[in-house]
């Protein structure tokens, strides 16, 4: 409420001052119009400057958020291509590295992405966030069951299921491909 009152007061004062400046310019004799002209232009620059600064800040925030997400995606790609997630890795008990999503969370929390401009990206990131949570939860279950099982066969079965054709990991990789391709295509924005 206070914020709205301050905004109304600020922009109201600026609007009134601009109107007075224009009126002053109109009623001034031809030789005395320099002062109201400069005054009116300064007020106009002040008003547009507020919006320009806001726009530039928002743009910078968005750029930083997208760059952070891009780096996070590259990091996740490294993780998925790493030794632990290779089908050729020897099956056995291991603690798997987790996928990360802090940049995505931060982008959502900061409001750097706007539904008007980034609807597609926001949708992709929501799906990605859900997939990452699911993978990490499944990895926890896998580790728990493999480490509490006495047989090595259990680890082999999990290895086979993790890399199988119907594995959830395939969808995760596809979604990562899709997100990275989208981010690359928006580099010029």
């Amino acid at each position: 409420m206070t914020r709205i009152a301050i905004t109304v007061l600020t922009f109201g004062a600026l609007a009134v001052a601009t109107a007075l400046g224009v009126a002053w310019f109109a009623v001034s004799p031809p030789g005395g119009r320099w002062e109201p002209a400069v005054n009116s232009l300064a007020l106009l620059a002040g008003i547009t400057g507020i919006f320009a600064e806001r726009w530039a800040t928002q743009r910078e925030q968005r750029k930083q958020a997208i760059e952070s997400i891009r780096l996070e995606m590259a990091r996740n790609r490294e993780t998925l291509d790493g030794e632990a997630f290779r089908p050729s890795a020897p099956p056995g008990r291991r603690v798997y590295p987790r996928l990360i999503q802090s940049a995505v969370d931060s982008a959502f929390a900061s409001g750097a992405l706007t539904p008007r401009r980034d609807a597609e990206l926001i949708d992709l990131l929501h799906r990605w966030r859900s997939a990452v949570s699911s993978v990490n939860r499944r990895l926890e279950l896998t580790e728990m069951l493999v480490f509490t099982s006495a047989s090595t066969e259990s680890a082999e079965r999990f290895h086979e299921a993790l890399h199988g054709a119907g594995s959830f990991m395939r969808d995760v990789r596809s979604l990562l491909d899709e997100t990275q391709t989208y981010l690359d295509s928006r580099t010029s924005d």
Binding site: P87, L141, T142, H159, H163, A165, R173, D177
Partner: protein, 383 residues
């Protein structure tokens, strides 16, 4: 790989991709003299009136340019029902199973055929993996050339990403060598293997062949299998299966073409005989033989100029095919160490055909059928 070797491969890839001429890089896996010796040996069998002596085994039926052209003509014959229906309905059946194939797959096609089906498969896989490797495998270099061109022209698949392999994939040792080759080239990336067009049915030891072929798959791979099927098994249906093949003139020309090109026999198409039978509880079996019905004994000259007697009523088995009982398919698949991921069926749309003949397309994955609740690994990781 040394820098000079890498440069040679790069230069070769650029030369193939950049030329207007239709180059194809074929890997030949076997000494073709051995194949000719094997064909000759198969034609030296003892006399038999039922096609159990002399024979032309699967693979040789397509070996050489003559049989290849005859095959292409047979495929265009509307009376060759199995092939026609298989080609006509493949698009729909493939569309129904293809979503189970994820991104990043390479494609290995056993028995390339006319290339129409591989084209559809490649088109889908290419959308998800533009750098895929396509490896058609066939015993006949002529079939490879014919099928590969049809499969790849206009798809945007670069020439050096197509690696046809001339190899008899029915031999276990050949498959072991082929498996090593494929795995070295693709690394850990998944491969979609395919055996389409009821090719499996052409082999005497079909179950063993399927087990050998699927044994080269890894957990991340898939196997696409197409077979002709029947809803029921009976001697009467075996007779109807025979009729299906008998009515195609082009098919008779195709099955006799290997004989014509590898012996000095004067071929009479009315000497082609079809024998139908029930093969246990798993399939209807059709044996196509060439019988000496000239009224006298003949002597046939083989490719090595050896002469072999071909007495009256003696036969040469030209072709073997089957229609698998749909109820037996799961068992056939399980015996090969695979499980179904998806399956689609297409009935033959012929007015007088009411006996449930059709084609099934099965997408298979390595491993047995999981029992629900019995395998937490699959419960956790499968979609």
């Amino acid at each position: 790989m040394a820098a000079s070797e890498r440069r040679l491969v790069d230069d070769l890839a650029k030369a193939i991709d950049g030329a207007d001429f239709a180059w194809s890089l074929v890997l030949v896996g076997e000494d073709q003299r051995d194949k000719l010796a094997a064909l000759t040996s198969d034609l030296l069998g003892k006399p038999s009136a039922t096609g159990d002596g002399k024979q032309i085994t699967s693979g040789y039926a397509y070996w050489g340019i003559g049989p290849t052209i005859a095959w292409a003509h047979a495929c265009a014959d509307p009376f060759y029902l199995v092939m026609k229906q298989s080609l006509d309905s493949f698009t729909r059946r493939w569309n129904e199973v293809r979503d189970h194939v994820g991104a990043g797959f390479h494609h290995v096609s056993f028995g390339v055929g006319t290339g129409h089906k591989d084209r559809l498969v490649l088109s889908h896989l290419l959308d998800r993996h533009p750098d895929l490797l396509y490896v058609p495998v066939d015993m006949s270099s002529e079939m490879l050339r014919l099928g590969t061109q049809q499969a790849t022209t206009g798809l945007g698949l670069r020439g050096h990403r197509v690696a046809p392999v001339q190899l008899d994939f029915s031999l276990r040792d050949n498959l072991a060598a082929f498996r090593d080759l494929v795995h070295r080239v693709v690394g850990d990336e998944p491969v979609l293997y395919s055996l389409l067009g009821n090719t499996l049915a052409n082999f005497d030891r079909d179950a063993e062949l399927l087990a050998d072929l699927t044994s080269i798959t890894r957990p991340q791979d898939l196997f696409l299998l197409e077979v002709a099927t029947t809803e029921a098994l009976s001697e009467e249906l075996a007779g109807e299966a025979v009729e299906e093949y008998e009515r195609s003139h082009a098919y008779r020309k195709f099955v006799t073409s290997a004989l014509m090109h590898n012996t000095d026999l004067t071929i009479r198409l009315d000497s082609v005989r079809f024998h139908g039978s029930v093969e246990g509880d798993r399939a209807l079996k059709v044996k196509v033989v060439y019988q000496n019905q000239t009224g006298g004994d003949l002597v046939v000259m083989l490719p090595d100029r050896n002469r072999v007697p071909f007495p009256e009523h003696d036969t040469i088995r030209l072709y073997l095919t089957r229609k698998y009982a749909r109820s037996a398919l799961d068992r056939v698949v399980a015996e090969a160490g695979m499980r179904r991921v998806a399956v689609t069926h297409s009935d033959f749309q012929v007015a007088r055909s009411a006996h449930g003949f059709g084609m099934d397309l099965l997408l298979l994955a390595p491993g047995g059928v999981p029992r629900r609740g019995d395998d937490p690994a699959r419960d956790i990781w499968e979609n």
